[in-house]
Subunit: 394 residues, 2 copies
């Protein structure tokens, strides 16, 4: 069967050049980067090189990069690490309603521990308003955590405005820091920590054509974090544990490629996605695009198919070789409709009928052709047997 | 130059069969194990298989395995997770003086947060006494964390006696749990969680001929842990974050091989190690073996070379292609003499002259020959220029 993978926001295939770069570290160059001898120094040099590659992609300094086991750990370290190290300045956090579970759940957990959290609304377009953020600031606010781009609908948040605002606030003497989860955005749009003026920024390698199990947290020089994974002296004592050398090397290579290809990739993905959206709107009626269609990542399309149950459509498409998702892979197994789509003000029915199509660099025009051939039939088929449609006719 | 790697306790090369098993998950089978579609289910099936392989090696049930990013995370999750979830029963922990930094540093951190910690002595042989443990128990003791085997000297702790003691204590109604860091022991000696009667047991893949960046925590059914890496619903909500599928598959395969080869490997390593120790004692005078020489892992030899500075000897050997270590790789960069060797009652000078030789399945008799050729000359050379020896003659 023809297989078309359109779930690149869940994870991406490893690029051949990335695999090639990591192979020596899965074979001959197997040293522990903390060892003093030849094998260790060989590994350490590779980790150092990767640290340069990762930092360069986001315009940071190499020693501002802390390697972690992935985006979830980066978000946990950023939020818990920052508030614990700065407890004396206050216990209020501002975030938004459509953050990834690894931000949202950490905030909910902190609420149980006496922190106050404000979850900013995102309105129908899926975007936070700077005015809402400004009025949410309190004496005790120590952290703002707003994602660079959403993982389900791709909307870009006004992170530069937030960074400017935080910078101004600090000039008044306020102790406040800004974290942004850029897991979906890095490598898809230009990310510059000096432009965003963030203090902490999370990245994941496996969204970038590198393997799973590796990520990074950018920590601006001088920002104090409480360690979470405590042990050895790795990562300048900010994250214990033997370095995942092969994963780090792969991550570095993927960042190097992403930096070179950024513009061409962005327009390639946007073309595929826009053609799909244009034609799907002509072929299928009663569909609703979710999220602002301008201010968003180039590779994500999120559509609600009225009268259709999203998970059923996903399975129907899967049986024809097309892989998509109903929401974040990290939330799969949940019986609730996507909280991201709900936050746009959609009702449960529309939220349950949402499908995310996420394109990647290995997708082709032929993939879009196949999708456009299969999808309209699948939707028609499902609507024919739809109990929701039946009910709506009564 | 001939290269002889004798630092297998720091990390091991990946076995060819392990690499072969993981390759499909670095190429075609790249799905996110949480995705519902074909690619996701393919990854999920692989993770499930590995969970069986890992659990089988330690005689656990598959759903008692939580995959983590490595031994350090496993130890952090075990200790912090257990005490946080069971705070109401007390805030006292018992551990020992020679635990790995990822146990010891977590305990020190908990002391700052109001916990009390007893660090049991290990005496000259590097072994905890069960009587000391018994008299350290308090009303508020909730956790005993004693490693199965030490990473620098290889001594085996009386974990079965501890498990029996904890089981007896529980019969009196006491709420108390037992964690053991088995990172160095798993795959080297038989580990059976039913025999040890532990509640939590830490494993790391890269000590077992699998890649870095992956590990597991065994959590006995019914034991409550507070999550540390919070996010998605992965690992039955005990550890968030996209599964490191390729790493998990490799880890599973390595455990399968370790289980099959356990006895033959143990005797192979013991033969290499014992021949080395026998001959080195004949060739070099003024050496001291560290730790009990019977109750220990088969692959580790730790020797203090009187009048020699350990790090100097390490570098001398490295220049001749032999890789060894002075202590745990996780502590390298520390200027202090090894706290493990110090805990045996050795003075600073003897602690600073300690070298760990750790053998692995890819070492050969020829490697031992080369070591026995190079080491005596290196020690002689260093002693000739030793300021310590000069001082001791005065």
């Amino acid at each position: 069967m023809r297989r078309v993978y359109l779930d690149n926001s869940a994870t991406t295939p490893i690029a051949p050049e990335v695999l090639e770069a990591m192979m020596p570290y899965l074979t001959d160059k197997f040293g522990n980067a903390s060892s003093i001898h030849f094998f260790g120094q060989q590994a350490k040099a590779a980790v150092d090189k990767a640290r340069h590659q990762v930092s360069s992609l986001i315009n940071a300094k190499p020693n501002e990069i802390v390697f972690t086991s992935g985006g979830t750990e980066s978000n946990n370290l950023a939020i818990r690490g920052l508030v614990q190290a700065n407890e004396k300045y206050g216990k209020h956090i501002i975030t938004c309603q459509i953050e990834h579970p690894s931000v949202k759940e950490v905030c909910i957990d902190l609420e149980r521990k006496g922190y106050k959290v404000t979850y900013l609304p995102v309105y129908e377009d899926g975007i936070v308003r700077i005015e809402d953020l400004k009025s949410a600031i309190r004496e005790e606010t120590v952290l703002i955590s707003i994602m660079t781009a959403n993982n389900e609908i791709g909307t870009l948040q006004p992170v530069e405005e937030i960074g400017n605002f935080v910078t101004e606030l600090r000039k008044t003497g306020k102790k406040i820091w800004f974290h942004t989860d850029a897991v979906q955005a890095v490598g898809k749009v230009a990310i510059d920590v000096e432009q965003i003026k963030c203090d902490l920024l999370s990245i994941s390698a496996h969204k970038l054509y590198a393997p799973k199990g590796i990520g990074a947290l950018y920590v601006r020089s001088g920002v104090r974090l409480q360690r979470q994974n405590i042990g050895g002296r790795q990562e300048r004592e900010r994250r214990g544990g033997t370095e995942n050398v092969a994963g780090i090397v792969a991550f570095g290579k993927a960042c190097e490629i992403a930096q070179i290809d950024l513009d061409s990739q962005a327009s390639y993905l946007k073309n595929l996605r826009d053609r799909f959206e244009h034609e799907v709107a002509e072929k299928i009626e009663n569909i609703v695009f979710n999220g602002n269609r301008e201010k968003r990542l180039p590779h994500i399309s999120n559509i609600s198919f009225r009268y259709v149950e999203g998970e059923g459509l996903l399975i129907n498409l899967d049986m024809q070789g097309i892989a998509v998702s109903t929401g974040s892979a990290c939330s799969s197994g949940s019986l609730e409709p996507s909280p991201v789509i709900r936050a746009l003000g959609r009702d449960d029915e529309l939220a349950r009928s949402a499908i995310r199509f996420s394109f990647g660099k290995f997708n082709t025009e032929a993939d879009v052709d196949y999708l456009l051939e299969v999808l309209p039939k699948a939707v028609r088929q499902m609507r024919e047997f739809s109990p929701i449609l039946e009910r709506s006719r009564l």
